[in-house]
């Protein structure tokens, strides 16, 4: 069973729809017992870091997530919340990864948000099985995780190279939206469910 974590952040529907397209059955839930017993857990998110963390802390889901042992995939804000802290609202995050999430600098023709299809490279790990270097995926974000030792793929926006995805043990996070990235994104979701 796949659990998609329901909390106060958007785009859970997009993830449920994408799982439906690849024939995977998922439940949308905020029940700690259901999440803890799932085979795979997906943590989506479009929204603001401090209010999302506040909600997770108040509901106790923060501890539930930290203690999970099964394959776990955070998407976009979900990945950022898995980091140590975020400059968005000066937020202490889950600390699964050590990185600090920072805002793109902006100005001088540097447009924020980083939105659209960008290539990912340095692909490593089972999430990218069967996908070639420089595959295109869809991003939309204003905050980013600098390139780090946990990065399993990187991307470039203007002069900045950042972590397109992070992996440590059972925990994985992607900055882009696999649920909106066409066939490449569906392959990544399928890899998460089948190869991890």
């Amino acid at each position: 069973m796949i659990a998609v974590i329901r909390y106060n952040a958007g785009n859970v529907l997009s993830v449920m729809n994408a799982l439906g397209r690849i024939g995977a059955e998922a439940v949308l839930t905020d029940d700690p017992a259901v999440i803890a017993s799932a085979d795979h857990v997906i943590f989506p998110g479009v929204g603001e870091a401090s209010s999302a963390m506040g909600y997770l802390a108040a509901s106790g889901l923060d501890e539930v997530i930290r203690n999970l042992k099964q394959p776990f995939l955070g998407i976009c804000l979900g990945m950022q919340l898995m980091c140590g802290s975020s400059d968005e609202g000066s937020t202490e995050c889950l600390g699964i990864f050590g990185e600090r999430v920072t805002l793109f600098p902006g100005g001088r023709g540097f447009k924020i948000p980083h939105v659209g299809w960008n290539t990912i490279s340095g692909l490593s790990g089972p999430l990218y099985r069967g996908l070639p270097e420089d595959s295109y995926v869809y991003f939309v974000h204003s905050y980013y995780v600098p390139l780090s030792a946990d990065a399993s793929a990187s991307a470039d926006y203007d002069s900045i190279r950042f972590s397109a995805s992070l992996s440590a043990g059972n925990f994985h996070g992607v900055q882009f939206h696999p649920e909106k990235s066409g066939e490449v994104g569906e392959r990544i979701l399928r890899n998460f469910l089948e190869a991890i």
């Binding site: 397209r21 023709g109 948000p113 290539t119 869809y138 470039d156 909106k180 066409g182 066939e183 569906e186």
Partner: protein
């Protein structure tokens, strides 16, 4: 490298596409969903559904269409037309739209942008800005509303800047001088707006030839380009357009063999 986006726009009335669409490959040429799937398979980077339904009573049809599109299409899409309130936006986003666009309603009440960005996030708020050349405006362009019928009195660049500072995430910029002419995008207008604001600009209006797309990306500095009839009438084929742009040095997402292999 971040790709320049190609965005087909589907005009939808009472749940059906308008503008005679003549794809022989579609079973139902009036089905917005089938057309959207066709474009998605052809390598469109995003889609826009523009609701031109005349009556409020028929807007419910648009919600069903958005739900169906969200289930079936794996690329982002924007819903525009007739969106006037936070409730309208909430309904479209809950149905599965990735972004919404606001136009005249934001000109009349600019704080709508602040409220939408605050509640739903800038990433889903697209300001549709219709502009016309005007010598009396500092930038040379005036924002117009009500489908181009009403001058707003606002300088197009000043309005674009204001919308960005209020939290719009992107600007869908349509040249009312060029729209429907097929004589090329408004390159000067697009450059004036795109180089003077720090959010992405989608150029719209006037697409006729593949060269027009190259020009609006290279000279107009657009981040994305939107067109309707050249795609609907099959005058421009998206894979061919992308090959042309790539050969012209414009970074675009070309679907690879692996995309088909995984279907």
């Amino acid at each position: 490298m971040l790709a320049k986006r190609i965005i087909p726009c589907l005009d939808v009335k009472d749940g059906r596409t308008v503008k005679g669409v003549n794809f022989v490959s579609l079973r139902d040429a009036g089905s917005a969903i089938e057309l959207a799937e066709f474009y998605s398979r052809s390598g469109a980077d995003e889609l826009v559904f523009l609701d031109i339904t005349a009556t409020v009573e028929n807007r419910g049809t648009m919600v069903s269409l958005v739900e169906e599109a969200a289930r079936r299409i794996s690329i982002p899409f924007t819903v525009g037309g007739g969106i006037r309130s936070e409730e309208d936006v909430g309904r479209m986003l809950s149905a599965g739209a990735d972004k919404i666009s606001v136009n005249s309603s934001a000109v009349r009440a600019p704080d709508l942008i602040d409220r939408l960005a605050g509640r739903f996030g800038s990433q889903c708020v697209v300001l549709a800005l219709d502009a016309r050349a005007s010598r009396s405006m500092p930038s040379g362009y005036e924002a117009v509303i009500d489908g181009g019928r009403t001058p707003s009195g606002l300088d197009a660049l000043a309005w674009a800047r204001e919308a960005a500072s209020r939290g719009a995430g992107e600007i869908l910029l349509t040249s009312m001088d060029k729209d429907g002419t097929k004589s090329g995008f408004a390159v000067d207008l697009t450059r004036v707006i795109s180089t003077n604001i720090d959010i992405p600009v989608i150029a719209s209006g006037g697409a006729g030839r593949m060269e027009d797309f190259r020009n609006v990306f290279v000279e107009g500095r657009a981040d994305a380009a939107l067109a309707a009839s050249v795609f609907h009438f099959h005058e421009i084929d998206i894979p061919e357009l992308k090959r042309y742009l790539s050969q012209s040095g414009v970074p675009v997402r070309q679907r690879g063999e692996y995309d088909d292999r995984f279907r």
